[in-house]
Symmetry: C2
Subunit: 436 residues, 2 copies
């Protein structure tokens, strides 16, 4: 029985917090109000962080999450691609180490006739950001107007650019708050954050790559499945054809973690080479995107083999000012970690490699930090491979060699070399598929 605040608000933030604190459902009206009032500043950061912690610990049901997502979408503009001559499909990854899949995937899907409007972010913490990676290409720029984006989607079929500030501004504000208040790891908040942006972005189809393992938000399969199911339901209810793959992030993807290093590996994939896991996941996600957009008839493996995907990549990079033929930055210093003994590499921990790459300069601890384009880790073997003592296992790249010590400290226990004949005990690359 609290008193009205005197500010002509229909609810009191404390009452909303106390409702969720007591494990009760938030009403539609409470959710609409709290998101709107937070965006306006009538609910303070310290109130929203207490609510976020209560949601993290006490949960929200499907209807609450759907309403929360809708309220965040309603806080900003929605894009509309219905004027395009082809269907649209987008992909979202929950983030992992060495996850450069968006780079070959977007042009590959475009080459198959489906437009890819990929609004991406910059990295924070041990997982890199797609925009950080592309910004290592000389001249490439992430900021496009909505008009430029639409024109590029029509002309090239693929665009990877920064999300404008107009999409789901409530989510932007809330995400920044969660990041500093220990409230990131709440499935309802992760799901609504991702889906509010993707639904507001206006894509017709969406494929979610939900990572599982040490290098991912979700450390175990059950949590990842719950997140995937929650997001698939949210997308489906909002009229977006949505499918999710649960994929392995116990081990880094591919053989590189770092910005320019990952661009180089992506170009290898578009050129018909590249590490098998990156190729497999790129093609699998492309098939899902094409199917979700109604183009089951097209095989993306063909577009990769015959050079059409590479053509689309070059066109996409050029359209955003980048020079697809330019040399990529190289690190000023490298340090090689050698295999300590002969044997089989049975584990290579994604989180530890990711933290090492971050500490070498590939990632940032705060939003305003710069990243080094050339910093990162190159892996010379992946689990299952036979290694020889004294041969290179990892090469660390940085422009600032004083960072090597802390990067090496992060790699303590990052790999295991077992006697010959041993086999790694790992989940498959593609663990499961979640459809509506």
């Amino acid at each position: 029985m609290s008193e009205p605040s005197g500010r002509n608000e229909p609810f009191d933030a404390v009452d909303v917090i106390v409702t969720k604190r007591g494990k009760q459902r938030l009403s539609d009206e409470q959710i609409d109000w709290v998101i709107d009032a937070y965006t306006r500043g009538a609910v303070a950061d310290e109130q929203m962080s207490a609510l976020a912690m209560a949601i993290l610990l006490n949960g929200m049901d499907r209807e609450e999450i759907a309403r929360w997502t809708a309220a965040m979408i309603a806080s900003g503009e929605r894009m509309d691609f219905s004027s395009l001559s082809r269907p649209t499909a987008d992909k979202h990854s929950t983030g992992g180490v060495g996850d450069k899949i968006t780079l070959p995937l977007a042009p590959l899907v475009a080459a198959c006739g489906v437009a890819v409007p990929q609004l991406s972010g910059r990295g924070l913490g041990h997982t890199g950001g797609t925009l950080d990676k592309l910004e290592s290409i000389p001249g490439w720029r992430a900021d496009l107007s909505n008009e430029d984006m639409l024109r590029q989607l029509e002309d090239v079929g693929a665009v990877i650019c920064a999300a404008g500030s107009g999409l789901a501004p409530a989510d932007k504000k809330l995400y920044a708050l969660r990041d500093v208040t220990g409230t990131v790891e709440a499935i309802p908040l992760i799901a609504s954050s991702i889906m509010s942006k993707k639904i507001a972005e206006g894509t017709g189809a969406l494929v979610l790559d939900v990572k599982v393992g040490s290098g991912a938000f979700m450390k175990d399969v059950d949590d990842a499945r719950e997140l995937a199911e929650t997001m698939v339901a949210l997308g489906t209810d909002a009229g977006v054809t949505t499918v999710a793959l649960l994929t392995n992030m116990q081990v880094p993807l591919g053989l590189t973690a770092g910005n320019a290093l990952e661009v180089r590996e992506s170009v290898e994939v578009l050129d018909g080479g590249g590490p098998p896991d990156v190729v497999e996941l790129t093609v699998a996600l492309a098939r899902e995107m094409l199917a979700a957009a109604g183009r089951e008839d097209v095989d993306p493996a063909d577009a990769l083999a015959d050079g059409r995907a590479m053509d689309a990549w070059r066109a996409m990079i050029s359209a955003q000012g980048g020079d697809p033929g330019a040399a990529l930055p190289e690190a000023k210093e490298t340090h090689t970690v050698e295999a300590p003994a002969d044997g089989v590499l049975t584990q290579l921990d994604a989180l530890k490699v990711g933290v090492a790459a971050w500490r070498l300069g590939a990632g940032r601890a705060r939003k305003e930090d710069p990243v080094q384009a050339a910093a990162g880790v190159v892996m010379h073997a992946k689990p299952g491979a036979t290694v020889r003592g004294g041969e290179p296992l990892l090469t660390l790249h940085t422009d600032t060699p004083e960072r090597f010590d802390r990067a090496l400290a992060a790699l303590d226990g990052a790999y295991t070399i077992a006697p010959e004949g041993s086999r790694p005990d790992l989940l498959p690359l593609i663990i499961d598929r979640i459809a509506p």
Copy 2:
């Protein structure tokens, strides 16, 4: 595995929050740091509110609460009454409706030879504040220097004044934050908030009046007992002789709720009259304070009967500039609520009466709001009494009659009149006693 913040702090606030979020113990070093850093502003409000919610939902053990309390005490100064010629004892109530007990109690105990250094607060919400009540006495002032306080304790034996800003500043900041973030009702935070102030205040003995019922923080006996046991352990460990009574707050204390109204009732008690429940609780708490201070030999009932308590009251009020003989403010308007039928009053809800008094102007919704000295509710019957239809049951007092409607709305369902022969089903006034 977070990165250092770069601000030369030994801990990261997110790590501390995540520890408690995951139901783990906070280390002594984490607690010392987070309280100090919050006081300094290096931990932000939104981080502390997320931590407070995690503590509310996941708890703290006895050792964590003791360390948290010690860290709050260490954030400010400690007072020292060892130079006084007599022992000291203080009382703290967790707050209730019509709880004016401090007013007759402090002079009564002083009259029995034990000094009472009562640092009090102003009211927020539906429970009134002791200072608000005393400020209805013309000329009386709450702000004393430490020197004035010591002198008055030596000369008069009782002082009721505002806590200086130097005692437990971490608690002041945290309490204001909890108030707006739905994190007030956490036993570890309530206990450490109360006890940090009382231990820093330097009293030798402390009696806690832990209220139970609709008008109290603690709605049920088990929660109240847990809070009482936690506080008694904290005080005992800190070298303060500490005892708690669990007392009934299902029904308002006495026949008045409001500032000047409660002063008038307190003077009646000091004059040998007054409502039986106020007299009983005042004498019981006085006995506990005297015993805790080593004066089991003195009977406070005598000091009440022979006028010594009234003499001490007059001296205490005069010493702080008040005129104990002055007329108290009277409300400009009154409105009478009549009993709707003949019968027995079987319930009179403390919370609803408290909210009505608040809405009439006796309390404040925000710290900066003024209160009306004369506003409040006078009760003409208490549960168990026989009432006649059409006779006055409650009288509402205010200077601003536009407040009557909302006060009457708060009283919806506040009382029940049952057929003659019915009996109220209520807890006893003194429910239990908790000693170390």
